[in-house]
Point group: C2
Chain length 374, copies 2
């Protein structure tokens, strides 16, 4: 937050340009990639998503989109608005995408050029096997677009190991930075596809061939005014991530997730996602029968300063989503949320034993300590 308030310098100033280079290096570490074209777009994650689609989809292209939540649905919109045809692999909300279903779909559509999926569905907390899905796509000659908005910095995102081609994320989730930036990375094959387009990219702002002249070249050309202060913030957030180290960050997310999970289950709440596909940083649990969703969320926010996410789409009113992302993934937040729930749930008719959730979380932390010491 202190970095955000630093004096803005010109977006062509040598000092600023040097910071841009550092940002690219730090982002390559976060994404675990050697991709030259790795930088933050000047817009939120939705701009990251749309940039991937408008650059990689040409009118008439067939694109396989895997949908298991809200953001897969948004991908379909993006394919269609880019003039492509979306072939949808449907998966139940809260489940990981089944690579076999993708395989079957690609066999049925050998002319598909692109596969898109969400690695970590923010709407449900389900994680798909990105390595497996990318491998299937590759075997069928397709490039991949992968949404890592909620996973980057919270759970392993291994762009090069996966062999993913166009990957976007957001600054405000596990990177714990200000909202409004979308880190992206593109493989050489993705850049080749963009350069071989027969038609112009429909968006001037998102046209990678133009943005490249500012972020990619040694001789920088003005494209748009870079959001200087937000970039300062991202630089600092990524520096902190590198300081902690990805392995440590991932372990921290798992540790606090285990404690939150123990507490939520002690409250009688059940997870939407099966354990194997569960993200540590996004915990979606079912609203208990007869309990009013909005009353609970409003009371948590107004009386306990705890904000939890509402359900989206078909899950509206049916689930609560507990984010444990980046800097907010800490013991004090876990305990504050559980203690508040212990107070609020009985007020809305869901009886819980006072102290049970907090005690369960304590036991989980203790078990983790023992495991780490062993």
């Amino acid at each position: 937050m202190a970095a955000l308030g630093q004096t803005v310098v010109g977006y062509m100033d040598p000092v600023f340009v040097n910071m841009m280079e550092e940002l690219k290096t730090l982002l390559r570490y976060a994404f675990q990639t050697g991709n030259a074209l790795t930088f933050p777009l000047s817009g939120p994650g939705s701009v990251g998503m749309e940039t991937c689609f408008v650059n990689l989809v040409e009118p008439g292209d067939k694109v396989v989109v895997c949908r298991n939540g809200v953001f897969g649905g948004r991908m379909i919109e993006n394919v269609q608005r880019s003039g492509g045809t979306a072939i949808v692999v449907e998966e139940e909300w809260g489940h990981a995408i089944d690579p076999q279903k993708l395989e079957d779909t690609l066999k049925a559509h050998p002319d598909a050029r692109l596969v898109a999926f969400v690695h970590a569905e923010t709407s449900t907390g389900a994680q798909s096997d990105a390595a497996a899905l990318c491998a299937v796509a590759r075997q069928h000659g397709c490039l991949t677009i992968v949404d890592t908005v909620t996973s980057l910095g919270g759970t392993p995102v291994l762009v090069d190991a996966w062999g993913a081609d166009a990957v976007y994320s957001g600054s405000q989730k596990c990177l714990s930075c200000t909202p409004g930036l979308s880190p992206v990375t593109f493989s050489a094959a993705a850049i080749e596809r963009v350069k071989a387009r027969r038609t112009k990219v429909q968006s001037w702002f998102m046209d990678l061939t133009l943005v490249l002249d500012y972020w990619g070249a040694t001789q920088r050309t003005y494209h748009h005014t870079a959001p200087g202060n937000s970039l300062y913030g991202l630089h600092e957030a990524l520096r902190l991530l590198a300081e902690e180290g990805l392995e440590n960050t991932w372990a921290r997310h798992r540790r606090h997730h285990a404690a939150l999970k123990a507490g939520l289950e002690a409250l009688g709440l059940s997870f939407v996602v099966a354990e194997a596909a569960r993200l540590p940083q996004m915990n979606a649990v079912r609203v208990p029968e007869g309990v009013d969703d909005l009353t609970v969320r409003r009371t948590l926010l107004q009386e306990h300063a705890v904000e939890i996410g509402a359900g989206l789409g078909p899950l509206a009113g049916k689930v609560w989503r507990f984010g444990l992302m980046g800097w907010s993934c800490r013991e004090d937040n876990v305990m504050a949320a559980l203690a508040a729930l212990e107070q609020v749930l009985p007020q809305v008719g869901h009886g819980v034993e006072a102290g049970a959730a907090v005690a369960a979380a304590h036991r989980a932390y203790a078990a983790e300590h023992l495991r780490a010491a062993a």
Copy 2:
């Protein structure tokens, strides 16, 4: 800058939603409009431009674009990428758009649906008569898109008095806020046109019918995560603008422009734009014969901490652009720039009398004081 570093709250938090309402009110004051749909887009001015075009242009539409600099050229790109046909009113760079030329063009193209022009060309410092151009467009049944990126908060932008339909700006010029936001305002006729579209807006992110559900409605629906910290900054910048008052702000820009102009002319530099069309906040002067553009700009930046703008497009290497925008439009900046030029110009073979430019600026300030006292 302090506002930028405040704690982020959720983009659905009642406190945040209340700030959004205040932002809309403050922006209506800045734009001098009663338009209900007045809010900041989550992207730089280029997103403002593209949002206006992708929403108001449908494939096959004929759009008249007036071009007298870089940003008129970008408008043509936007028309074409939106599937429209651009009819271009060409004007010499550095000149205001001639309303008669627009009139003649509209007579020749009675099926045009839209007129677009830049109120204040950042690339040259020329100001066009927005009221006259909007009136001509209206007489021919066209809606208008007006770029006020460099004018808003520096020189009168009177959206309702002009009768402009879609107007966009940027946060980082005369509003002196962080780069990355684009304030926009739309007339009822513009909204009607968007709602009557036969085709979907090609951009999901910029689709006003979707963005409206977040910024426009009383029941807010998630569209994308709002750039919270940047919005805090804009709120504070607009509050400061309202505190000073638009009339006072405009007068301040004129006063410091007069002093800078006196100093630049004392240095033997001549303005690109004729006096009648000259913007106070963007002062473009010709690089003197035989003087190396880059050497001067680099020396000013590295040795005097004064950054001036380079020429863009056909004016690259030929002009220098002195911004006097918002908070930076102050006597100390005028004097620092002139004093630095007095030192640097003789080093590159352009002889100037030591102290002459600063003295000329002093006299201009004194004359302004006398005028104000009279």
